[in-house]
Amino acid sequence: MIKDGIFFDRRTLELRYQMPVKNIEPFFKGLEEGKIRATKCKTCGSIYFPPQIHCPRCNPGIMEWIDLDGDGKLETFSSIEIAPTSFQNEGKYIVAIGLLKEGVRALAWIDAKESDLRIGKRIRLVARKKDDAFTYVFNLVE
């Protein structure tokens, strides 16, 4: 169809990726058990979050899975006012980055009132079930 000089495509494309996570299954198993897991290189001690199964520093290095404590502090945050189309049904959400006790940072939603948030406040990263899938979220520690 041509309207106002524009040809409207008759072909549509649905993009829905199929992403291999076999090697990081312990992370998702951990979420089911209420744990946030990272990987740690037994050779150099580097901790990886998001978890990855190879240590580029040591090449190869031997990795092990560790449970993160979850305790951390708020480094920055933003309330997303215009969300992507695929998040239209999520309601309003606030994204935060926290520095965890183990020295790694995580990015996740923070479940708190925006007016209560201050950089430097103590937060906790916890596993949670949402829409039949396991994910993780920051909470404010009062």
Binding site: I6, F49, S78, P84
Partner: protein, 390 residues
């Protein structure tokens, strides 16, 4: 690097919502002008590159479709470095000439964002980070990535949203004088402050728009360049760096570490030991107001936390100490992703030649200009030093 490379021809399309043209027609608007500007023809071009992010427009092999339309048959390559795809295109074309593999090369960028609805664009551009760990669960948007930096910056340096708006006010001031710009209206502080939030603390008027546009430059080696034009603009050096995809791997949110590394390499390559005194012009990557402020600091023309001060004191206006983005920048000129890096190179060439519009032409004393082009949120960084060697 072997031979020094110079820009010998430039072309720039009108930026904006260009629903009057196809992507190939839009690319031709700048290629044709660049060819005529240099006095060269397609037969002279030995290699060409096309910076293009795509996805929102239908063609995937844009280097090929653009080449076919424009009568280019030599070797080619499409480059992707997000919003720095244009600088990546420049790099490949420049290296091709510097190595002696090409006598003349063309680097261009084109983006046709309005071939998809806004909702699709917001979705696609929000994925330009670490898709699996950031977007999939947490729905980041492009403004949100920079908003995370803005929150931290305002906190650390006790700055206000009003201060960030100063960058946008300046951009619109110059956009109003640039006939190639998307926006031609000046804005006030209250226009900016009253605009809607997109990702707090960033508002519509802190953000660059969705843009269609193209830009092209033609490159030749030093000796060849002097035969082609009386005003070659030399690329003295280029530095590049790659930041982490996952923002959680960064330990500084009040600046972009990749920009600092790229600048250091570029300064070393061009013998710059004091960026505050050796440039007439800065073209900085101001996709958001906060990005312009961080750029001043990452490039070393302001101390950490003092970028805002440069804006407040009008030191980065065209007649200030550090003229920055006298073309309106990404904010008001527009930000056609893959074309932006080449558009900056075109502006620098115009300025160093002394051919910019009255009211926005900077005074050229040192004959040197700096380009800062960032892809994503410091995911890619390219810093390039240009000179007219007076």
């Amino acid at each position: 690097m072997g031979n020094k490379v110079a820009i010998v021809g430039i072309g720039h399309s009108v930026f904006g919502k260009r629903n009057d043209v196809s992507i190939n027609e839009l690319a031709w608007e700048s290629i044709s002008v660049a060819l005529n500007d240099s006095g060269l023809t397609q037969k002279d071009i030995d290699f060409y590159t096309v910076g293009n992010y795509g996805l929102w427009s239908e063609e995937i092999l844009t280097a090929v479709t653009v080449g076919e339309y424009a009568g280019l048959k030599c070797g080619s390559l499409k480059t992707e470095a997000a919003c720095a795809s244009g600088s990546a295109a420049l790099k490949i074309a420049m290296d091709s000439v510097a190595s002696g593999n090409s006598r003349i090369a063309l680097a261009m960028g084109v983006e046709k964002m309005y071939n998809s609805p806004n909702s699709t664009i917001i979705e696609l551009i929000g994925r330009a980070g670490n898709y699996f760990w950031e977007f999939e669960n947490f729905g980041l948007t492009f403004p949100a990535y920079y908003a995370l930096h803005a929150t931290r910056y305002l906190n650390d340096f006790n700055a206000r949203e009003e201060d960030l708006c100063e960058a946008s006010i300046k951009s619109h001031h110059y956009g109003a004088m640039n006939k190639y710009a998307q926006f031609h209206k000046e804005i006030t502080l209250s226009d900016c402050m009253n605009s809607k939030y997109v990702a707090k603390p960033l508002k519509i008027f802190d953000s660059s728009p969705i843009t269609d546009g193209s830009a092209a430059v033609i490159l030749a080696g030093e000796e060849e360049a002097r035969k082609i034009t009386d005003t070659p603009i030399y690329i003295e050096s280029q530095g590049s760096a790659t930041g982490s995809a996952y923002l959680g791997k960064r330990d500084d949110f009040a600046g972009l570490e990749a920009s600092r590394r790229a600048a250091e390499i570029a300064y070393k390559g061009a013998g710059i030991n004091d960026p505050t005194s050796q440039f007439d012009l800065f073209e900085v990557h101001d996709c958001f107001s906060i990005a312009e402020v961080m750029a001043y600091e990452d490039l070393g023309i302001a101390r950490r936390g003092e970028g805002i001060k440069l804006l407040k004191e009008h030191q980065t206006y065209h007649d200030g100490k550090f003229p920055s983005n006298p073309d309106g920048g990404l904010k008001a000129k527009g930000h056609p992703i893959g074309a932006t890096g080449i558009s900056q190179a075109v502006e620098i060439t115009k300025q160093l030649r002394g051919e910019a519009d009255p009211g926005r032409q900077v005074q050229v004393r040192k004959g040197r200009a700096l380009q800062h082009n960032v892809g994503g949120t410091g995911h890619y960084a390219y810093v390039t030093v240009y000179s007219r060697r007076n």
